[in-house]
């Protein structure tokens, strides 16, 4: 990677860290929300659904601004978290939060669709054998939706790798802290002669995201075949 300067390497490392954390931390919640939306009928279901989709609909800058207002140093949630020693403002954790939130709708949708494709009759069969809802979920539903979870997670990862607008608006563009690859690309594009450097970074991030996507296709297909037992 002699091709990349230390600052750029730093940005790549940070982007990977941010995206991986964003994906892993939001995954359990994503599965839970997807399941709730797919299988439960409860008041406020549509509200939850709308909320989940919000980051997809809003211009990223607006999402970033709203994050700044709520999770910023003076924001209500920001202050609340700070009491537990968790600071996200202007930290890489904040970048992960922004990326995670921006990727969340994609993750939830992918998982939800795969849950809806599971035949409830199989879950019923599990229940007749004595398995509680939780156990049926863990042993029947979860394995069957594994391909969907993988797809959703990788999609979220790819989206997180590319996230820019909300991140820079929320946690700024601080090298080593919050300067992810896309932010670095932005910085280069703002100055004369910065295009080659920007292009280099774009190629890097495309390679990373593509690798993840193709890998997920491959893994997803293998898992799907294992799951279908063919």
């Amino acid at each position: 990677m002699g091709w990349l300067g230390p600052a750029e390497l730093e940005a790549l490392r940070l982007s990977l860290r941010v995206s991986i954390w964003a994906t892993l931390v939001s995954l359990p919640l994503g599965i839970f929300v997807a399941y709730a939306l797919a299988r439960w009928r409860f008041p406020g279901r549509q509200l939850l659904n709308g909320l989940v989709h919000l980051p997809l609909i809003l211009p990223p800058v607006v999402t970033g601004y709203l994050l700044l207002l709520t999770f910023g140093i003076q924001g209500p949630l920001g202050r609340f978290l700070a009491e537990f020693g968790i600071v996200v403002a202007f930290r890489w954790t904040g970048a992960a939060l922004a990326a995670g939130i921006m990727a969340f709708p994609l993750m939830v949708r992918a998982i939800r669709l795969s849950i809806e494709a599971v035949d409830p009759k199989l879950e019923q069969a599990g229940a007749t054998l004595g398995a509680s809802r939780m156990f049926v979920f863990a042993t029947v539903t979860l394995p069957l939706i594994l391909p969907g979870i993988i797809a959703g997670a990788i999609l979220a990862f790819a989206k997180a790798m590319g996230e820019f607008g909300a991140t820079i608006t929320f946690v700024s563009n601080i090298p080593g802290q919050t300067q992810t690859l896309p932010s670095a690309v932005y910085s280069f594009l703002q100055v004369p002669g910065g295009e080659p450097a920007a292009l280099r970074l774009v190629i890097i991030s495309v390679i990373v995201a593509m690798t993840a996507l193709l890998l997920s296709e491959y893994v997803g297909r293998r898992v799907a075949r294992r799951v279908a037992g063919t």
């Binding site: 009759k121 199989l122 019923q124 069969a125 599990g126 229940a127 007749t128 054998l129 004595g130 398995a131 509680s132 809802r133 156990f135 049926v136 042993t139 029947v140 394995p143 069957l144 294992r226 799951v227 279908a228 037992g229 063919t230």
Partner: protein
Amino acid sequence: MSLSVRLQQQLPGIALDLEFEAPPGVTVLFGRSGAGKTTVINAVAGLLRPQAGRVAVDDWVLFDTDQGSWLPTHRRRLGYIFQEGRLFPHLSVRQNLAYGRWFAPRGAQRESQDRVVEMLGIGHLLNRRPAMLSGGEKQRVAIGRALLAAPRLILADEPLAALDEARKAEILPYFERLRDEVSVPILYVTHSAAEVARLATSVVALQDGKVLRHGPASDVLADPSVAPAGVRAVGAVLQVQVAQHHADGLTELRAGDARLFLPRIPHQVGEHLRIRIPAQEVILSNKPPEGLSALNILSGTVEAVRAGEGPGAIVSVKTPAGVVLARVTRRSVEALGLELGQPCHAVIKTVALAPQDVGGRVAT
């Protein structure tokens, strides 16, 4: 343990409204396609919440809409064999079989897995996935999975329909053993008259969501008005004991003071059994028959003659072996003068008593 069922449910096609008591043993639900059999079983299993009703095993209430009580499916300790298998596609056959064991209470009486596997002939399939099984293989695994869950209530929806005769003949005794040894109530849907006759302790005949007839198997089956099972299923059940195995491949049974021959059966000398003698296989004679190929001739007196709507009649003959039913034509009833108290001889072909009609062990 006995199961009591009361249900009311409005469906697009029919209105379900029924009530019956299933005594210990096998209660066969039968009725034409669409009569509501699967719906009843699903309600008992808790997969369907009926508009009104109550289901209980003795005084363990599974649900009661009057009291608003409802036990979720997984607490009902079921073994449900579905009409369409429903194996878990992502688990191997072995894992499918093991699924229910997780939840069986520690002390629960439980089948040995090896034994069930052997009986079902699925030993060579254990490492396969369901997608790689044939239709019948799937159903066999589904049966095994339900049985291994140590259920307190077995629900079986046409469990043997996809199986070949030979396999059926192997699995039927197993259900019989369950019926006779374990006190688990079994609710069993089938369209096969042979299975009804062989397994049923009691029979619930459904028609358009209502109970058409309900009672001990022998009563319901002997009733020609209950069309669906077919008159061919009518038969008498005799209590017998294995007396001797003969060298020419026949087994001799002691039935009361009489003897019966039938093709060799695998039971040991001295064992008590029940055998079904299909009414249809019995010929009556008013003279002691001679020179017939039939080896079993029981002499007795006519106890009852029931004429159906068709050309046939069911004649009960009291013999030293017990009461034997014979299905003959009304024309023969007149020709032979078969009236109450009249002495007569029942001729039963040896080969008509195939091993299929031999019931399992009887608690002595």
